[in-house]
């Protein structure tokens, strides 16, 4: 069959060669007006979203980049176009500021430790729930997922009271075992690790739920075939199950990583970046620059984090995508 007879285009062409030009004109006019109606409807449906999107997403994204190349201060708030272009000076200023380096380092440590821990804990919990136990699955699933839906601010307030050195629950429990707990959030050695553990605590449920759905879609026949071939439980997991989970794991890793790179609520509530900037995150740094009126530097810091997000995403795709 020649390809032209399959497509609608071909039918039209064949009709065009036919002996009934009047009928042809009528159908093509009908068709064109139907298509026009469809396109008009599509733009009517798209218009409200696109208007909001242009104003509150696209414009700020571009504006932010431009702003990072100018000397915009809070004094320019009412006259945002009346500023000078200063090239990459803000970026130079950023990378000459040791505090920004501290913020970047803290953010990197937070992401590089918390992200693998969250993925591993969530995956382990999912496997345990899926094939390890038979009873009370729903209880564990709901309990482990509960922190995910909570406000980080509220949870940070609760943890701050739990970690209070003298009356907090954590040090009370440690004292039962004869351990003298430190002032967690006032100690440069412990403040950031505490926030990392809190992030794992709050987010492992997301990974668990998505991995559980993935595990349930692994065909039983595949596992049985592997078992017949003499694969042990460990091998079955890493050779059969894990490759099937990889796409879902990648997606979770990317979204969780984007969230972690912007961590802000925890240090804002618990330490305000202290002690000695040991929990100052890149977002908190940008927020403080904004608060000081340095809109230009805040925008530049935002773009640096944006580049890091893209880099992390690309890296994750490299590490976790299917290796053919």
């Amino acid at each position: 069959m020649p390809p032209s007879t399959i497509t609608g285009q071909g039918t039209q062409e064949r009709e065009a060669a036919g002996p009934r030009p009047a009928a042809r004109r009528r159908t093509s006019v009908l068709r064109r007006s139907a298509q026009g109606r469809q396109a008009r409807a599509a733009w009517v449906l798209a218009a409200p979203f696109l208007a909001l999107f242009l104003a509150f997403m696209l414009l700020p994204v571009v504006w932010s980049l431009l702003m990072s190349l100018t000397d915009t201060q809070s004094a320019d708030l009412r006259t945002p176009l009346n500023v000078s272009f200063i090239g990459f000076d803000n970026y130079v200023r950023l990378f000459e500021d040791p505090q920004f380096f501290t913020a970047l380092r803290n953010t990197a440590v937070f992401v590089l430790v918390a992200l693998p821990l969250t993925l591993a804990a969530g995956l382990a919990a999912a496997v345990a729930l899926n094939s390890g136990i038979q009873r009370f699955r729903a209880v564990f699933r709901v309990g482990l997922y509960l922190p995910v839906i909570t406000s980080i601010v509220a949870v940070a307030v609760v943890w701050k009271t739990l970690l209070e050195p003298h009356a907090g629950l954590v040090n009370t429990v440690l004292a039962w075992f004869g351990i003298d707990g430190p002032a967690w959030l006032a100690d440069t050695r412990f403040a950031l690790p505490v926030m990392i553990l809190m992030a794992v605590w709050r987010n492992l449920g997301t990974v668990m739920i998505i991995m559980l759905a993935g595990l349930q879609s692994v065909p039983q026949s595949l596992m049985e075939a592997a078992e017949l071939d003499g694969a042990g439980a460990w091998q079955r997991f890493w050779r059969v199950t894990f490759p099937l989970l990889r796409p879902a794991l990648l997606l979770t890793a990317v979204t969780t990583g984007i969230g972690y790179l912007q961590f802000f609520d925890e240090p804002f509530v618990m330490t305000d970046g202290g002690p000695l900037d040991s929990t100052l995150s890149a977002t908190l740094y940008a927020y403080k620059q904004f608060g000081n009126g340095n809109y230009d530097v805040a925008s530049a810091a935002g773009y640096v984090v944006f580049v890091l997000i893209i880099a992390l995403t690309v890296l994750q795709f490299r590490v976790l995508r299917d290796k053919d």
């Binding site: 298509q35 696209l58 932010s64 038979q134 509960l146 949870v155 802000f264």
Partner: protein, 298 residues
């Protein structure tokens, strides 16, 4: 399972067989029994902060610091809540959080499903470009946009109103992605049949497609509402005074402003922020979990 029962054995070994059978039965009904220990430990770790919060918020300051702490308050009191709602305008903040979250959710459900349908089922010029443009911003963090957004909203004279909290979140790329994916799976024949019957294009969307997208709308609604309820950076940046604070902003500023000594009030505040979504979650947890698992995204 009966096929697994071994043939009758001599009485000498019957107790050993019993043991094997019992072990098998336990495994079938319980799985790996030892796993309950670490899982229960983990579960305790997950819920203890909430239990501590719930019980402490109904205690006096002295009872909170009592060692060891009581799980059930011995002298339950509402004093913390009374002080919370009288010293801070927590009623107003609660109302603000509800209004903003509802408006943002409604906006996303409507606008994202409209564009999602157009992208999934309608032919128009520029469709690919629109889709690519919207998807390209899927990963843009709020950190990148908040400074120019603030300048924009300030120049629209909206920093003093709730509209400033709502407008930037009414239409999000994630919602379009979700709705387009879902609507693509609906059969084209439905739409063609409606066209043949003379149904107008916009009516097809409103009367035929929208009712069918209910599961996706539920998922998007839950995710959007939670995101708005818990949102912090933008409300913190744009709210000018207490009358526009949302709950997280009010709670965060209360916890950092004074010296951090009044546990009771802060924990009562945390209860007010957390309890509504927790109750909704526990009631609808099955839908929650199904929705989040199918989207594969938070």
């Amino acid at each position: 399972m009966t096929t697994l029962t071994p043939a009758p054995t001599p009485p000498a070994t019957s107790s050993a067989t019993d043991k094997v059978l019992r072990r098998r039965r336990i495994r079938r009904e319980w799985g790996q029994p030892w796993l309950y220990l670490p899982l229960t430990g983990l579960l305790l770790l997950m819920v203890t902060p909430f239990l501590w919060m719930l019980s402490s918020a109904f205690k006096s300051e002295g009872d909170i610091r009592k060692l060891p702490p009581d799980l059930i308050p011995t002298h339950p009191t509402l004093a913390n809540y009374r002080e919370l709602f009288s010293s801070l305008d927590f009623t107003r903040m609660f109302a603000n959080s509800v209004i903003v979250a509802l408006a943002v959710t409604a906006g996303n459900l409507i606008f994202c499903s409209m564009l999602g349908y157009a992208l999934a089922k309608l032919d128009f010029r520029g469709k690919r470009a629109v889709f690519a443009l919207v998807m390209a911003t899927l990963m843009v963090p709020g950190l990148v946009t908040f400074v120019p957004l603030y300048v924009l909203v300030a120049n629209m004279k909206l920093t003093g109103s709730l509209l400033g909290l709502i407008l930037p979140f009414l239409a999000t790329p994630f919602g379009v992605f979700l709705m387009r994916q879902f609507i693509s799976t609906l059969p084209d024949e439905l739409i063609d049949a409606a066209r043949v019957d003379g149904c107008r294009e916009l009516a097809i969307f409103w009367k035929i497609i929208l009712p069918l997208t209910r599961p996706a709308l539920a998922t998007l609604g839950i995710i959007t509402f939670l995101g708005s309820w818990n949102n912090f950076l933008w409300p913190l940046v744009v709210a000018q005074n207490e009358s526009q604070y949302t709950l997280p902003v009010g709670l965060a500023l209360a916890s950092s402003g004074q010296d951090f000594t009044r546990f009771g009030i802060l924990l009562a505040g945390a209860v007010v922020v957390l309890l509504p979504v927790t109750i909704v979650f526990l009631l609808f947890q099955r839908h929650f979990v199904a929705g989040i698992a199918t989207t594969g995204l938070k």
